[in-house]
Symmetry: C4
Amino acid sequence: MPEITDDILKKVIKVRESDSYKGKYGRILLIGGSENYGGAIIMSTEGAINSGAGLTAVATHSVNLTALHSRDPEAMYIDWRNKNLSDLIKKMDVIVCGPGLGTSDFAKGIVKMLRDNVNEKQTVILDASALDLISEDKNLMPLNAGHIVLTPHQMEWQRVSQIRIPFQDDKANKAALKQLVPNGNATLILKSNRTHVYGEDGNVYVNTAGNPGMATGGMGDTLAGIIGGFIAQFGPSIETILAAVYIHSLAGDILYKENYVVKPTEISKLLPRLMKKNAIKSGK
Amino acid sequence: MPEITDDILKKVIKVRESDSYKGKYGRILLIGGSENYGGAIIMSTEGAINSGAGLTAVATHSVNLTALHSRDPEAMYIDWRNKNLSDLIKKMDVIVCGPGLGTSDFAKGIVKMLRDNVNEKQTVILDASALDLISEDKNLMPLNAGHIVLTPHQMEWQRVSQIRIPFQDDKANKAALKQLVPNGNATLILKSNRTHVYGEDGNVYVNTAGNPGMATGGMGDTLAGIIGGFIAQFGPSIETILAAVYIHSLAGDILYKENYVVKPTEISKLLPRLMKKNAIKSGK
Amino acid sequence: MPEITDDILKKVIKVRESDSYKGKYGRILLIGGSENYGGAIIMSTEGAINSGAGLTAVATHSVNLTALHSRDPEAMYIDWRNKNLSDLIKKMDVIVCGPGLGTSDFAKGIVKMLRDNVNEKQTVILDASALDLISEDKNLMPLNAGHIVLTPHQMEWQRVSQIRIPFQDDKANKAALKQLVPNGNATLILKSNRTHVYGEDGNVYVNTAGNPGMATGGMGDTLAGIIGGFIAQFGPSIETILAAVYIHSLAGDILYKENYVVKPTEISKLLPRLMKKNAIKSGK
Amino acid sequence: MPEITDDILKKVIKVRESDSYKGKYGRILLIGGSENYGGAIIMSTEGAINSGAGLTAVATHSVNLTALHSRDPEAMYIDWRNKNLSDLIKKMDVIVCGPGLGTSDFAKGIVKMLRDNVNEKQTVILDASALDLISEDKNLMPLNAGHIVLTPHQMEWQRVSQIRIPFQDDKANKAALKQLVPNGNATLILKSNRTHVYGEDGNVYVNTAGNPGMATGGMGDTLAGIIGGFIAQFGPSIETILAAVYIHSLAGDILYKENYVVKPTEISKLLPRLMKKNAIKSGK
């Protein structure tokens, strides 16, 4: 089984060309953050911004606006009840849906609206509550998206796939993924202490980085944002996804050398330097 | 009388096992933060998060939500008027109640609800206003909790125990604690410039660390959060509690070398590194 | 064509005289930040404060107040619906209008009010949405201002000037600028990966600094604030404007050495040190 | 005329005794921060907290609560419309009134309420708008306070004293101060690039530190907070006041070595280290 190692960073993180403008690095929208879980969408947003997305917008409960901007003025904001959200979705390259979304009827309506507005040029990353909602109603899957990335941890995957954790082997996981997204445009990132990535290419990749100091709330939200930021810049290939998964863990490993617990916000802060180092290393 | 020294850290702070997930490091709920004292629950939360609790939730006045998330997006939030709070309490491993709670009738209702919903698998840490409320009505003590930790300073203990400060000797304190929690499941942390810990084991431990730069508002709130974070991860033993008390003072001593006044939020920031150092030292 | 190099910093950034008071370094007002784009006005404000403006005020949607003060307590605030805004405008030395302003009817009213209240002692910097509004209605241009600085990127300039990007050469740009501001009191900063500055003196200056890591949301908002801060302190000369453009890029280049993506807020943070270094170098 | 030099720090900043508790270092209340000037009271609060006040409370417009706690959870809060404010005033050792207060009728009511509730054990520091209000109505002076400290800059002093700036010599200033506070319990800190302190002892002290990088909004607010924090801990002597004035400028001078503009919030951040260094030096 192919392992994800730091070679992948050198393949993916390109030194930027000088004739750049922000539109070139993608438009990303992150949807999530109910009244109770506003921190989740903030942490996800920090993953996207710090990994270098060109333009970052956040659709969330209005109660989260000020905390978001206190930390991240780079993010644009839209109240998730705003009727223009469906139009905004259409203009995006990447949409992350789920961090702190919750499973209310309103949240379900959001996922439905997302499903009804995405197109084949877009990548949708489904995380956390979005997956829980889909586990209850498979019709919510945004099948019109060009690419779908699912980022469940093992318990969430059990709910979506109906495969109990001990039985989550590669064969069963692939079959369940195929059933969920019959057109094959889906990547499954099954998070555990040894995360597996099931690519559209049929391969299964195993992450070799990561550590137990990362077992803390918000780590998955941050990963979803980084995956979004990477796809916005580097395109929706399997290499991009693997690089995002790997750099998240690599940043965690660097922090873990000095810290007993790794705060997800610290991972995001480290990204610009870590990406630079690997872009330099790549010799491009 | 046994002294609390840095040996205790090596006993308690275990290097995490590689097959970790956040649920393994405990669920902690912090309840407090009225309109006037929102900073207290924020500082307590920072103690819990930075000491490594797996999942941290905060029940507070809605006015404190944004400041909380501006500083600590890792925390989940529930409005303390939310009817689901009683259900949330039941799902927790550790509950800290009191920082900035205030002594209103509403606050009293919160403590009553806590009392009515805890069970023997849980540890409840009672701090600040929660102790004041209990001093007025002993029936508020959450006797169904598996373990109770009281963290008064001397004046708060005078109000709860009815023992005036000059008469707060070990014998009197033990007797008062026994009267307050007859089943013996209580630990008393009597904060002073020479904090004493009265364990469930009947022993009295004296803290050897700490300094006068720590004599500033918010220090106790932070300690309550750290105790909660430690118990969430390492279980409710006397060693865990002693380690939490000690590391709080140790962090303060390190900061005091360079700072005339030690800010409680700086103590929390130092914890991940300080815990790492001691986990390494332990050779595990 | 003259190039903007770091000589310009030594010419402009004067070591302050000892008999200083804050009024001496100018009063600046920044107008912008709708409900959706509050971060833009915050980033612009950070450019102004960190470049050393004496007194900084912000007129914005009330929803942005708390995030602004959480980050920048140095800024004074006025709700942009406040009727006193027109009086405040009259007291300012420099007004930046546009970052995150949006193009609503209300925003249009703001630009109109600005136009009706500025005088020949003031400099007005028009950025982002303000330029879009002017592209729809040329009568919104605040022609009574002593100096006008326009800071469009190429697409915004296309909308204002009606010159499509491939045809934006110096001759056409100068002619369009003359048409927009017939009295010749306007400077055009046409942002691209090789920013051109069209001075009131008829010269065109090319920026030699900058990098593709700066291609991220908020970079232009920050530049507008820095230009404002520089003019507030050093006066509205072409040298001042060139120095502001250059230092923004220089800070970006320094950060880019270590960071894959350059966050605009980091540029602002770097300004006090970078200005100090260049003020020292100048030998004044 | 005696000069204020760094000897004063060694006299005042005592190494804390080990049997400390937070009540020993004073209770300080800061009143200010209207809807428009919330940043001022935040900066003043940061001066008080970082200089080591034992307990810090802030009475301000409710709109400022969240920004305050986002930055400074150590501060307790009371809505300045709260009827309990008069009772809270009575419990304080030091009250700072004025930063960002504004000059509305409501603000005037606050100053009146302060006047009516202070007693001879308390020190009141009057800054900014509080001085402007008193310049309009001399009866607002809180003459019952044990000590009054006025911290005008030259223009504010012109309004309060009716002495135009060119005529603000020592003799005239002393006479005006005597007229404003006939019982002689007042200290005047007349801020300029060469701040003079007129003590209750009749002496005039000249500050030798400070620099033109400090000519920026919020510098005076921060000074008022530091004076409050020093008096809370070290008592209301002339030495305490001189040490507070001096350390504010000294911190500014240290920052100015590396920064073109000195942000007031950076001065507050530097205080714990700077006080520690000088407490060590004192050999106590």
